[in-house]
Symmetry: C2
Subunit: 100 residues, 2 copies
């Protein structure tokens, strides 16, 4: 295998943490279909607004999502093409395991 620094491995684990929470993975899943406002996300996922905002801040700080303001609303979109790829690779694993 490649020689990967401790630092990079740490960053990698930090990166995967973003996918390791139900709320965040649901948000990510939702945004795979396209951008959506905070209130729309909250309504669609049946979550409190502040829960969504807090988690969006985490994703935004990590540059996994990016906001665009339109009037009072702020639309969030996935910021990186890799996100969907990682999501789908994990999903493939889960579904594969389900079948046995």
């Amino acid at each position: 295998m490649q020689n990967i620094s401790l630092d990079t491995l740490f960053e990698l684990s930090e990166f995967f943490k973003f996918f390791g929470d139900t709320t965040r993975i649901r948000v990510i899943h939702l945004l795979l279909s396209g951008e959506m406002s905070v209130s729309a996300i909250a309504e669609k996922l049946n979550l409190e607004q502040s829960v969504v905002s807090h988690q969006l801040r985490i994703l935004r700080t990590a540059n996994l999502v990016k906001p665009t303001r339109d009037g009072r609303k702020i639309y969030y979109a996935l910021d990186d093409e890799h996100i969907g790829e990682i999501f789908n690779t994990g999903l493939a694993h889960i579904l594969h395991k389900k079948k046995g």
Copy 2:
């Protein structure tokens, strides 16, 4: 996007959690090169034996690694081809972001 059940999304986030810890990601990285005994892993990563054992139990319970006993030693290997794929996809993202 596909219609994914809440249950599956939960499982997916649980799955990514395994990658979201430095110790575990280091173990996974190590095992990408092939199987290795507990003591060898601990020595290579400069970690206490019990730390490694505890984390291996988590990975084993989730069927991410599988043990094979040979005498007193127990060799652990990655149990699934997807593991490396997910690891590398995440790594590609990290390295890509580093370059900017």
